[in-house]
Symmetry: C2
């Protein structure tokens, strides 16, 4: 029944090729023949694994998101304190995406403008999954009495929003600044947010 996953990891190899060609040519100038040659397979074979060119680009960004999500899952499961884990997750979501597109000379929005609409939809999905993973940790922290008791998923979505401007969507990795500076920036922001999340002995009212 399944018409995908014929060979072991051919799909992965194709996506590796997509990554290389997107970096070198961009979406429009990446041709299916180029890609087949790059991967060392016939053009038709690509269509045994992907329905078309658009889906190739989208699957590529999906893969980045999935890899990130796996990393977040590892951090989430690590035996560190919830605040440390949240901090690591925020830093990771920014730096992982930075590293994933550091070799591109365009930002992702421009690179994939031909599939903008679907790209935005997928991104929403990716963000939501990231939020869910972070919400788990927030819940844990709340049960331990470390975090204050707001709705975890809503809070996690805020953490996502607050770090989204550091992702290479409308700025290239280069334009976002040096990796070290970016790390510094997201780290500081994470610390600030975490201070806000911590349960405090006696709440000071905002007037």
């Amino acid at each position: 029944m399944r018409h995908i996953a014929r060979q072991a990891n051919i799909r992965e190899l194709i996506l590796d090729g997509v990554d290389a060609l997107l970096a070198r040519f961009g979406y429009r100038k990446m041709t299916m023949e180029d890609l087949a040659r790059q991967v060392g397979i016939g053009k038709g074979t690509i269509y045994l694994h992907f329905p078309g060119k658009e889906e190739l680009a989208l699957a590529h960004v999906d893969r980045i998101a999935e890899r990130l999500l796996r990393r977040l899952g590892e951090i989430s499961a690590a035996r560190r304190s919830p605040p440390e884990r949240i901090r690591a997750m925020l830093v990771t979501r920014v730096l992982f995406r930075f590293d994933s597109v550091a070799h591109y000379s365009q930002n992702l929005n421009d690179l994939l403008s031909a599939v903008r609409k679907e790209l935005l939809a997928r991104r929403q999905g990716h963000f939501e999954k990231e939020a869910q993973e972070m919400a788990k940790v927030l819940d844990e922290g709340r049960e331990m009495g470390i975090f204050s008791g707001a709705d975890s998923l809503l809070t996690a979505r805020l953490l996502i929003w607050s770090t989204n401007s550091m992702l290479p969507f409308n700025l290239t990795a280069r334009e976002l600044g040096k990796r070290g500076e970016l790390e510094e920036r997201v780290s500081r922001l994470a610390d600030l947010l975490l201070q806000g999340l911590l349960q405090r002995p006696r709440d000071k009212k905002l007037k």
Copy 2:
């Protein structure tokens, strides 16, 4: 000596025209003749106030930023508690920009892609001024013992970064969601950040 500001507010009228035509046609299809007609002046007159078309678009976004900055200045000077002011400033910087481009059908980055480079540079300047205005309030709050004692300007820059993803740069106002939802979102984020900024009686260490 000055070759600008001949008449009272002709410059403002021209920028009003730019706003109308950008919304209706976008940057490329907005012609200088269209604009002159829209404003009711001769084409040459525009060049007495602006050096060229690119500068028109950039002056338009500058004006939005200046107006916002004036509002932030008002909030900054209001006699409310520093946390309340910071909160209002964050909400304002998001909603004011939302309202300023709500009638556009494209996001700002795409709308002004022809002047992308200079646009990014100006934006940096705008952000920095916003940060400076917020830093004032942070300093005030620190002197009152309300905020903890980190570098105010650095902290203000973090507040800017954390709300930047809610600005209509790569998403249209429509795509950012309903105004009410956006307000809710930025408000919640502001509250979270403020919690992080507050001086706490005894600091709980993060492990």
